[in-house]
């Protein structure tokens, strides 16, 4: 415990300011706007994909055409115009680099401004970074170490070319192409993303980390991530992103699929900071993400941790299907909404196997005029003997113009199951703020500290360096909004 505190301090001192909201000037090749079968064929061809991928995309596209955009009661936004989006943007030549010296200095500058640890120091610290910038993977580190263990960690485009069997077997095995409107669209046009495969019995020796970033104006981002943890393996995967300030809305519709085999464990952590728009909500990112994992084998475990501070509109429910007996699902989430941000997030825990266990800890923080909704579904199917769920949903309100809503849905078809739900709503109290003031902290710092304390249970789940970054992000989000 004392050790951890020391580490936090050491880390905090050595971390730099975190800033987003700028555009990098790198030459890019961009498709004209619009979406049709021809665009999809060209996209697939450009990426050098095998036939099965093109068929997959076209099938998804045709499904998508028949689907309707979902209408969520608590989200209000202008529907994106899918014909006004360009579906492909790649740095002009997208070579793989052997050393950072070879990388475009503009790109490095961007990473530095973001505080992205794409540098040798960080790599030495044990982070392999697969950076997805404008849809094409530019840099991959630590491939060698991973290779020794038989771990595959690369862009999904590369995986499609190099490991087509794995991709064909598992892609859309957790999120079927017709799962929902945005998942179908993603399946049709996904540009890039990450792929990880951990072989049987292998413990991945480092955090696998991907930093996403929208860089090209008006380029929709359709990232696709596929993670497969084979029997008895373990991996901790980090996803983080920031976006530069924009006038137009940017759509982000990612799909993440995770397959966890018998006795395997996957920890998936996200720090999400898409541009939320200005004070009036103009120009922010729309974030419609489908994230789903399956605990396929017995005794498997999947843990989601997310810190969400960005986006104008967020619609996101990382879900876990607990299929194997004794499998465990966890969901830890902090979602902050400010100004006119709207977040509708939560999780689904689908208990199918016997003795399956799930834990949900959700912390919602609302400021300004924002609305923060938690929507959680816990489903216990008839065969899920002795399954258990515990859900804790806490909301913290800052100011009196914001709202927090909690919608727990519980469907239990098995009488031996135990499902517990607790919810609280609190406000930052004046006494707490004054106590901090009296110690020399101004009100903004005080609120930031109190918010971090409120979110502690979740932040504690993050790997150390991510936790520090997340704390800064929370502080940044609160800036200028209290007092």
């Amino acid at each position: 415990m004392a050790k951890q505190d020391d580490d936090i301090i050491l880390n905090e001192y050595s971390n730099k300011e975190y800033e987003a909201g700028f555009v990098t000037d790198i030459e890019t090749e961009v498709f004209e706007k619009g979406l049709n079968e021809d665009i999809i064929r060209r996209l697939s061809e450009k990426k050098g994909e095998p036939q099965f991928m093109l068929d997959f995309r076209l099938k998804a596209y045709r499904r998508w055409l028949e689907m309707e955009e979902p209408d969520w009661a608590l989200l209000e936004y202008e529907k994106p115009d899918f014909q006004a989006i360009s579906y492909y943007a790649a740095p002009k030549s997208a070579p793989k680099y052997n050393s950072l010296d070879e990388v475009d200095p503009e790109l490095i500058k961007t990473f530095e401004k973001l505080g992205i640890p794409l540098n040798e120091q960080k790599a030495l610290a044990g982070v392999a970074v697969d950076v997805v910038m404008d849809s094409v993977s530019v840099h991959t580190t630590f491939q060698e170490t991973l290779k020794e263990k038989g771990i595959i960690f690369c862009s999904i485009s590369e995986a499609i070319r190099e490991h087509p069997d794995l991709v064909e077997k598992y892609l859309a095995s957790v999120v079927p192409i017709g799962d929902n409107y945005y998942a179908a669209l993603n399946s049709a046009v996904f540009s890039d993303g990450s792929f990880a495969y951990i072989p049987k019995g292998v413990r991945c020796p480092m955090e696998l980390s991907t930093y996403f970033r929208i860089n090209q104006g008006n380029t929709g981002q359709f990232e696709r991530t596929l993670i497969i943890a084979d029997e008895g393996s373990y991996v901790s995967y980090l996803e983080g992103c920031t976006a530069p300030q924009r006038d137009e809305n940017q759509l982000h519709a990612a799909v993440v699929e995770i397959v966890v085999m018998k006795d395997a464990e996957v920890k998936y952590s996200t720090v999400q900071n898409w541009y939320p728009g200005d004070k009036n909500g103009k120009g922010g990112v729309y974030n419609f993400v489908t994230k789903r994992g399956i605990c396929k084998g017995d005794n498997s475990k999947l843990s989601w941790t997310q810190v969400e501070t960005g986006s104008a509109v967020t619609w996101k429910y990382p879900s876990t299907i607990l299929k194997g007996d004794n499998s465990v699902g966890e969901f830890y989430s902090v979602a902050v909404t400010n100004n006119h941000q709207q977040a509708d997030t939560g999780t689904k825990m689908i208990h199918i196997g016997k003795n399956t266990k799930s834990t949900i800890i959700s912390k919602g923080i609302s400021l300004g005029h924002s609305n923060n909704s938690y929507r959680g579904l816990v489903k216990i199917s008839a065969n899920a003997e002795n399954s258990r769920n515990f859900s804790q949903c806490d909301s913290l309100l800052i100011g009196d113009k914001c709202g927090a809503h909690t919608f727990p849905y519980i469907e239990s078809e098995n009488p031996t199951a135990i499902v517990e739900h607790e919810a609280t709503t609190s406000k930052v109290s004046e006494d707490e703020v004054f106590y901090c003031n009296q110690r020399g902290l101004d009100t903004e710092q005080a609120v930031s500290l109190i918010v971090n304390g409120f979110a502690k249970e979740v932040l504690n789940q993050l790997p150390m360096e991510f936790a520090v970054e997340a704390q800064k992000l929370l502080a940044l989000t609160l800036e200028g909004s209290v007092g």
Binding site: Y13, F434, Q438, K456
Partner: protein, 254 residues
């Protein structure tokens, strides 16, 4: 002749239109310890809160000069950085925020105010260790969240620890002795005595003469109905312990 640390002149303060402080005059010089005693509800905590800048109290009249500055113009956090520390009568819990992080954040502000660089992690941890030893507080406590689930006595100890960390010019201790067992009382008092020097001052609010056996005051004031009605040496505390407040009330009302 030592310098004046704080000078309170004819201070009036009210809450929701009800006057609580009715003209306080008090001057503390560097190196002095002043004890403030007085019956429940007489305004002791109100005085300390007003000095710390709690904005629910409205100052209707009077002047406070601290370190040559007009104190009443400063925001609460500025008063803290200038060197006013209040050990609260009822410290609040700040859930999930470890004392380590809390103190680090506070100290950084204090140092920045003085134009100093933040301490390096190693220096900070060394300071923590030093101060923990000074007030004999256990790491088990300082590794926990601020006051979360602390016993009454532990909260008071934590206040003294924070005071030691921030090393204020003027420390206001609002009944820091209540809720402490005999050992803790001795430890806390020793901590205060070790911090005491010719450049700082203490305002010690207490109901019990007992504390003043350990922290020997230079001056004892009696606050009654929003006014300081009697001032004396440490023997005044003995007199109060023995006779209670009735004779003072009678004197005042006479």
């Amino acid at each position: 002749m030592s310098k004046t640390l704080i000078k309170i002149e004819n201070l009036h303060a009210s809450i929701e239109g009800k006057e609580i402080l009715k003209g306080i005059n008090l001057e503390i010089k560097e190196g002095e310890v002043h004890a403030i005693m007085g019956p429940n509800g007489s305004g002791k905590s109100t005085l300390s809160a007003v000095l710390a800048g709690r904005d629910i109290y409205e100052v209707t009249e009077g002047k406070v000069t601290f370190n040559g500055k007009n104190l009443l113009e400063l925001a609460p956090e500025e008063r803290s950085r200038e060197g006013i520390f209040l050990a609260f009568q009822y410290p609040v819990e700040i859930k999930g925020v470890s004392i380590v992080n809390f103190m680090k954040a506070a100290l950084e502000q204090h140092r920045e105010h003085k134009g100093l660089e933040p301490l390096s992690p190693a220096e900070f941890l060394k300071l923590m260790k030093e101060k923990k030893e000074l007030v004999e507080i256990d790491s088990k406590l300082t590794n926990r969240a601020v006051n979360e689930g602390f016993s009454g006595g532990e909260k008071k100890k934590n206040e003294v620890f924070q005071m030691a960390m921030l090393d204020p010019k003027l420390a206001i201790l609002d009944e820091t002795d209540s809720g402490l067992d005999i050992d803790a009382l001795r430890i806390v008092a020793n901590g205060v005595n070790k911090l005491r020097n010719e450049h700082n001052g203490f305002m010690v609010i207490t109901h019990y003469q007992r504390l003043l056996d350990y922290i020997v005051p230079d001056v004892v004031h009696v606050l009654y109905d929003g006014r300081i009605v009697k001032t004396g040496g440490k023997e005044l505390a003995f007199e109060l312990e023995e006779k209670g407040y009735d004779w003072i009330k009678q004197e005042v009302e006479a």
